[in-house]
């Protein structure tokens, strides 16, 4: 049985934040969940995917975040509890659905989990999703700890049903990827069957209906504010006249700092866990009892600006600090010492624990950047592209996936990237204004997510570029989730269709299409050259299973290679491919047989034919 389905109320379990959230949803009786994978939220959907195979929960990996929210929105409007999980940038994709769903509302609880990534451990930006709560007019909950993440998930479903609105549950990486002890509660059996009564004047958002629904939304927002002021997730701690307002993980740093600085008698903390809409009356009361206030929040000054507005409305003139010079930055995630130092500085006291860190020793260490795996087929494709384009002036817009790592030397195969699916759209733009060949990359999962739309656009508008679809049979970057092109029967899962990328591309009317197997270097180079000289939109599908995924599926291993005596130390293998299976010992090139997957790419690059398969 899946550990998150353990039916032992009271049992204590060590859980990752993402597991605690998934467990909370199960305890709340979630019936439908949908997601497109995105770190730091990936483990939530992974656990749902696994649990769905042995429980009444319906879970799907949707093609993108917008679709996942539409699936969950409809299910929730039939009265069943639903959840939708995404990373912060995923909410941009789903925002169109979100904004008007807020007008329509829900009947069954709908919780939208959005995981922000301050410091960008695995993201292209560090946008603050709290603005989406403001923008959409929806309630937002923000847990500070792991057990609270579980608790808030359950309450979020209840709140959603009370307000008849979706609820945004916002985490940051530090919640998603922290682990702590959580006490299990009872599992509510999900209500999986819904009902729907026709009522177009309520559910069909034509202007006349939406005008009414906007009024409804604003009334709900006022109701939500009343509930926020009564919520146990918003509380005061301490009774001093120095005020600190905080949310999310910042609360844990503030708590530790207040203790470490010995300020228990001087400080009152206002922790806002039900952070949108801001409980203005509560903040007003708080400000009335403070001489000086510091707002501690990662990201944007969302609370700070609202608190200042509340102070102004209430005619309070006390200093309120937050973001700004000498105080907190909008950049990156916080940590306990940083928060302690800023509290000490704002309230003009000494930080006795102030540690002077000197990073001089770390400065000149050899870096250890993430790289494409040994035997990764993307390396072979990138190398083939480089060879095929040797005489050409090329720009390489890319996309989001493992292959973004192709930007690093020696491959250097990335010139432009803004968001998931941007490969095809940006390629079109470059092809209109540059006198260069445009070659762009996207993965198989990314193709379905949104790059496909850019390809349709390119065929219609007669753009001129080559799209290389790196089809490795899985969503590799986020941990090998399936996508519409995956043969689910192979994984012992029935009840799925399968969409063949090659047929899709053909059906779109792309002028030139070829499929390559990137470990066959010469053939691949030739096919790429043909695609590159084609005027118009050409597509090359580079098909080879992700080597890590293959390992996890226990596919038969190929023999590793070794460097024979014929090696004359050109080091083309190292300099051109940068495969991590290589190492140099006493001036000679070697291959680590434990890391080599036998892809044979280097053997085809070696000018001396010195790289050979190990004979067993």
């Amino acid at each position: 049985m899946h550990k998150l389905l353990t039916d032992e109320p009271g049992k204590k379990m060590l859980l990752l934040g993402n597991e605690a959230i998934a467990r909370g949803a199960v305890e709340a009786g979630v019936a439908v969940a949908a997601a497109y994978p995105g770190t730091p939220s990936s483990e939530i959907s992974l656990n749902f995917f696994q649990m769905a195979q042995e429980s009444d929960l319906y879970f799907e990996y949707s093609v993108n975040e917008k679709v996942s929210l539409e699936v969950a929105a409809a299910a929730a409007n039939t009265g069943v509890r639903s959840m939708c999980i995404m990373k912060h940038v995923g909410l941009n994709v789903a925002a169109d659905a979100l904004m008007t769903l807020a007008y329509v509302g829900v009947r069954g609880g709908l919780v939208i989990l959005v995981a922000d990534d301050p410091s960008m451990f695995s993201s292209q930006n560090e946008q603050d999703s709290r603005y989406y709560a403001k923008l959409s007019g929806l309630a937002m909950l923000e847990p500070s700890t792991i057990d609270e993440a579980k608790e808030m998930t359950i309450r979020a479903f209840e709140l959603s049903e009370q307000l008849e609105e979706p609820v945004l549950l916002r985490t940051t990486t530090r919640i998603n990827h922290s682990t702590a002890v959580v006490t299990l509660a009872e599992i509510t059996p999900p209500k999986t069957e819904g009902d729907f009564s026709r009522n177009p004047m309520r559910y069909v958002t034509v202007p006349a209906v939406s005008r009414q629904l906007h009024v409804r939304l604003l009334a709900n927002l006022a109701k939500a504010e009343e509930m926020a002021s009564q919520s146990p997730f918003n509380f005061f701690e301490g009774n001093g006249r120095w005020g600190i307002i905080c949310n999310g993980v910042s609360y844990t740093y503030v708590s530790d700092a207040v203790r470490d600085l010995g300020l228990q008698e001087k400080v009152t903390i206002l922790r806002l866990g039900f952070s949108h809409p801001l409980p203005k009356e509560m903040v007003h009361t708080f400000l009335g009892n403070c001489d000086r206030v510091l707002v501690v929040e990662e990201g944007e000054p969302v609370l700070e600006e609202t608190v200042k507005a509340v102070a102004q409305e209430g005619g309070k003139m006390l200093p309120v600090g937050g973001k700004g010079e000498g105080l907190f930055s909008r950049l990156g995630e916080f940590n306990p010492a940083l928060v302690r130092a800023k509290i000490a500085s704002w309230f003009a006291i000494d930080d006795p624990l102030k540690s002077v860190t000197d990073s001089s020793a770390q400065a000149d260490l050899p870096p250890r950047p993430p790289t494409l795996c040994a035997g990764c087929s993307h390396r072979a494709t990138f190398h083939a592209v480089k060879k095929a384009a040797e005489e050409m002036d090329v720009i390489y817009p890319t996309d989001i996936g493992c292959y973004t790592l192709g930007m690093l030397p020696p491959l250097g195969m990335a010139d432009f990237l803004i968001c998931m699916g941007s490969s095809t759209g940006t390629a079109a733009g470059f092809s209109k204004t540059l006198d260069k060949k445009v070659v762009t990359f996207c993965g198989d999962s990314t193709f379905f997510h949104s790059a496909m739309a850019g390809l349709v656009n390119a065929v219609f508008n007669k753009h001129n570029f080559t799209l290389i679809i790196l089809d490795n049979g899985t969503t590799a970057m986020t941990g090998h989730q399936p996508h519409p092109g995956v043969d689910m029967e192979k994984h012992g899962l029935s009840g799925f269709g399968r969409i063949d990328i090659e047929k899709v591309v053909k059906a779109l009317g792309v002028g030139h299409l070829s499929v390559i197997h990137p470990f066959k270097l010469k053939k691949s180079i030739k096919a790429l050259q043909e695609a590159f000289v084609f005027e118009g939109v050409s597509v090359v599908i580079a098909r080879e299973i992700c080597t890590l995924y293959g390992k996890s599926l226990k596919l038969p291993k190929m023999k590793p290679f070794f460097v024979s005596d014929k090696c004359k130390n050109h080091k083309d293998c190292i300099d051109q491919l940068g495969c991590p299976a290589f190492f140099v010992k006493e001036g000679r090139v070697n291959i680590d047989p434990d890391r080599c997957t036998g892809c044979a790419l280097c053997a085809q690059v070696c000018p001396e034919n010195a790289i050979r398969p190990v004979k067993k």
Partner: protein, 218 residues
């Protein structure tokens, strides 16, 4: 508590006395490794052992693309703090499964920090192919001792192989950590956890590796 902030209107209003806050004993342990070295399992074992011993425990992971050869860090906090992160200069103990990564994490250390590290390098690609220099053992020792309180450096990789699997470096280091007597969880709790929470066919190797690390440090 003043009336304006009384718990009546806000039922969740918590009063925390200063006494509660002072009775704290917090131990901060940082474990660093290269992706694939089993850092997260080691951290999980410590967490489960803390749960068994009823000691408050929080941990956070930083594993940006660990499977793609990057660095994995686990910050573990035993005791009554609320944070799950360790700031620069604030680790009580630093354990490294790979010497270069131990060095890279030195910012977390202060002059009292106890450092335990595997001495067997896993050079990053640029160093493995001679494009950048991997610091030698003497430089490593010097740099660590400049920043930290004490250093125990030994070949955990060979001990892991002796135990039966090179992947057991994590258990060797756990053994050495337990032997310092500075962990809030006992060696016995950790042994129990290894027995009950690691994969059955690895338990014997894991326990042996743990003992080899324990003896090495003792």
């Amino acid at each position: 508590m003043r009336s304006g902030l009384s718990g009546k209107r806000y039922p969740s209003c918590k009063k925390i006395t200063s006494r509660e806050r002072q009775d704290m004993n917090v131990t901060r342990l940082m474990i660093v490794a290269v992706g694939g070295q089993g850092n997260l399992l080691a951290a999980k074992v410590l967490g489960e052992a803390a749960l068994l011993a009823d000691i408050p425990f929080r941990m956070s992971e930083i594993h940006g693309m660990a499977q793609r050869g990057g660095v994995v860090e686990s910050a573990m906090i035993f005791g009554d703090a609320k944070s799950s992160l360790i700031s620069d200069g604030e680790a009580d103990m630093l354990a490294g499964f790979e010497p270069l990564e131990t060095l890279r994490a030195l910012g977390k250390c202060n002059k009292k920090t106890v450092v335990i590290t595997n001495s067997m390098p896993l050079p990053p690609f640029a160093a493995a192919v001679g494009q950048s220099a991997y610091p030698g053992p003497d430089k490593l020792r010097k740099l660590i001792l400049e920043k930290a309180g004490s250093l125990s450096s030994f070949d955990a990789t060979t001990l892991a192989m002796e135990a039966g699997n090179v992947m057991a470096v994590n258990m060797v280091i756990l053994g050495a950590l337990a032997a310092t007597g500075l962990l809030p969880v006992s060696a016995e709790h950790i042994r129990d956890t290894i027995r009950n929470k690691t994969r059955r066919n690895f338990v014997e190797v894991n326990l042996k590796a743990f003992e080899l690390g324990f003896t090495q440090q003792h």
